[in-house]
Symmetry: C2
Subunit: 386 residues, 2 copies
């Protein structure tokens, strides 16, 4: 029997285990610098922040074919790479079509994929933000994105769409700029519940406990790898489901041949050989610091934690009544981070406020990650009663 | 509004939030030293290990009234302190009765509450075991406990009972020494599934990532507090349930007055004020290293991970057919660590093998911890069709 490593068997999380369609290429990828400071909900300002963005397909003469796709925690502006199946179905009236639409995707503020984040230089001080990077809310992001769209001549969006933190933005767009959004698709998301906040908290602790984090003042090439790896491992538990893990890993020993009933290499018994699920988690954890920054992770965790569009309003109805577009909310049946029931309740609250809100549920064992791991099934559901 | 700390509001996990009954006092608490080496399943031996144990109530002349209570991961031999309600019901035929029974509880090998563990001196070397403490299985524990009972003149047990890792021992007793056990009550446990193994893995990583762990060679007063605290926080997520957290904490800011929408003390936004659930977890985490040892935690995680009584047998039936006593298995409806369905399937597998196995389910939002946090309800269920 060959000793396979997890690296050979497991995909990247997106479209895992499936032959990927060729990723659509953006017609443009670049930076937009806001020409004035961005006043943030937390009271601070970001001086002339940069938004990194990608565009797929061309804006038509009437400027009526713009679509905004929003990415999740560790995503990037290159939606063609991480959500290729969204563009794929060979049907007439597909939701997103590079031949018909002009699709824009903007990297989140705080991220490490091109937009201003903790590793950027603060133009006011000449130094890297580091731990002084402020709390940027989902609403702050949406407002900054609106300025980018202004600059591109995009007044109306025929669609905003996103999953997880991307869904937060897609919905916040419909609330913040109701005149500008025809329709929003919001997948696997609602304001984070107590268990979700708890899952994020222990991830945060994993990073800040790492001495290499150094209060956020680490050199880029010396980031807190162990802490960030552990955070990713914990996150992976919240992205997947017990059913999926049981089916994939069960109580099997690690596929590289380790023996969980053995002693350690030095003869002790505190660690020993790993189970298969541990090998998988270690592999996921080890790869993550190669592509993501610890301070960006902390920044976006807070963006995620603090999102509740109805906060500071007397009641939710007051907020939802603002919405003019149609909203499609998708719950994921096995989602442990944003339970489907929470998404359904969000839909019901909107309906009660008179919003054209529809709820559909993705029945899957993949957990929260299903919007990336089960793209074909998601796209089928999105088009099911189009 | 008063600024309450979590310390004032939250209990110790056991019988949380309830007025505790006065804890029964043991008539004896002491050590038993095995007079010969204990040959372990992993192939190593423990030279003359010590078992710390407590006794409640007196053995009768016929030696027919012995009960063995088994404790969970971070428990101790003092069952009267952590499971007081078990002794409480004022009814005729109660399951456990200090006036009728002689109740014995033995501290697990590997623990830091009196039995031989990583912080003990290895008599063969004169040095502390530390990271060289071997893997001790549930079966090893049960065999060592049997020698202790031999020394006490206890041949038969009218009952073995335990929850979680305690339930593993209670059931292993019925398998290993079928002639010696009349009845076993096994609560909230089955061989750990893939998600449970994963939860334990990230806890292990939290400890070994802490530089203070130092490969397990730390001084007792300089143990890896941060890593152990984080492990306890993660464990707490697996012991409780989303429903319970939602009800207790929701999206409330921490009760000490922190503001999750604020910046950090130094003006940055990577951490900021905590939500209430984070304050609770930090409090749980901070207290744990005061009462538990990191290497003991690692040792017992492996004891827990590696337990599967049917491993190395052709089929489960062959193992369960050994059992002569009656088995009552209790699933906990909201248990995320040992799902009730797994416990029910264990019961069904036993019934199929001809065991007098019964399954009951504790309906509760408390999660795995319910056997400690909801003792009154548990005891009611245990007596419900007596």
């Amino acid at each position: 029997m060959s000793r396979m490593a997890h690296a050979e068997k497991k995909g990247s999380g997106a479209a895992e285990g499936k032959a990927r369609r060729e990723a659509p290429e953006p017609i443009y990828e670049g930076d937009f610098v806001l020409d004035e400071p961005l006043l943030l909900d937390c009271g601070r300002t970001l001086a002339n922040p940069t938004l990194h963005y990608a565009v797929y397909g061309r804006l038509d003469a009437a400027r009526s074919n713009a679509v905004l796709v929003c990415h999740a925690l560790s995503g990037s502006a290159l939606v063609g790479s991480w959500w290729p199946e969204l563009f794929a179905p060979e049907i007439e009236e597909r939701l997103v079509d590079t031949r018909r639409d002009c699709i824009v995707c903007v990297n989140l503020l705080g991220s490490c994929y091109g937009s201003t984040g903790p590793a950027s230089v603060n133009p006011e001080t000449g130094h890297v933000y580091g731990p002084e990077f402020p709390l940027v809310s989902i609403r702050d992001n949406v407002r900054a994105q609106a300025r980018l769209l202004d600059s591109l001549g995009i007044e109306r969006l025929r669609l905003t769409i996103g999953g997880s933190v991307g869904g937060m933005q897609a919905l916040q767009w419909a609330i913040e700029f109701p005149q500008r959004v025809e329709r929003s698709v919001v997948i696997g998301v609602a304001p984070l519940g107590a268990m979700g906040l708890a899952m994020n908290h222990v991830q945060r602790m994993a990073i800040v406990n790492d001495p290499e984090w150094n209060g956020g003042k680490y050199l880029t090439h010396r980031q807190p790898r162990r802490g960030l790896s552990l955070a990713r491992q914990i996150a992976t538990l919240s992205y997947k489901s017990p059913e999926l893990f049981e089916e994939r890993f069960g109580r099997n020993p690690n596929r590289n041949g380790e023996d969980p009933w053995s002693l350690d290499a030095d003869g002790g018994g505190l660690q020993g050989g790993r189970f298969d699920v541990s090998g998988y988690l270690d592999h996921q954890g080890a790869r993550f610091p190669e592509r993501f920054d610890a301070n960006s992770y902390l920044a976006i965790l807070r963006t995620m934690d603090t999102w509740d569009p109805t906060r500071e309003f007397c009641n939710a109805e007051e907020v939802y009544r603002r919405i003019k577009g149609a909203i499609l909310l998708i719950g994921i049946s096995s989602d442990g981070l944003f339970p489907a029931r929470d998404v359904q309740q969000l839909a019901e609250a909107m309906q009660k406020a008179g919003v054209r809100a529809e709820y559909r549920e993705m029945i899957t064992a993949h957990g929260h990650d299903a919007f990336l791991a089960e793209q074909t099934e998601l796209v089928r559901l999105l088009h099911s009663t189009e």
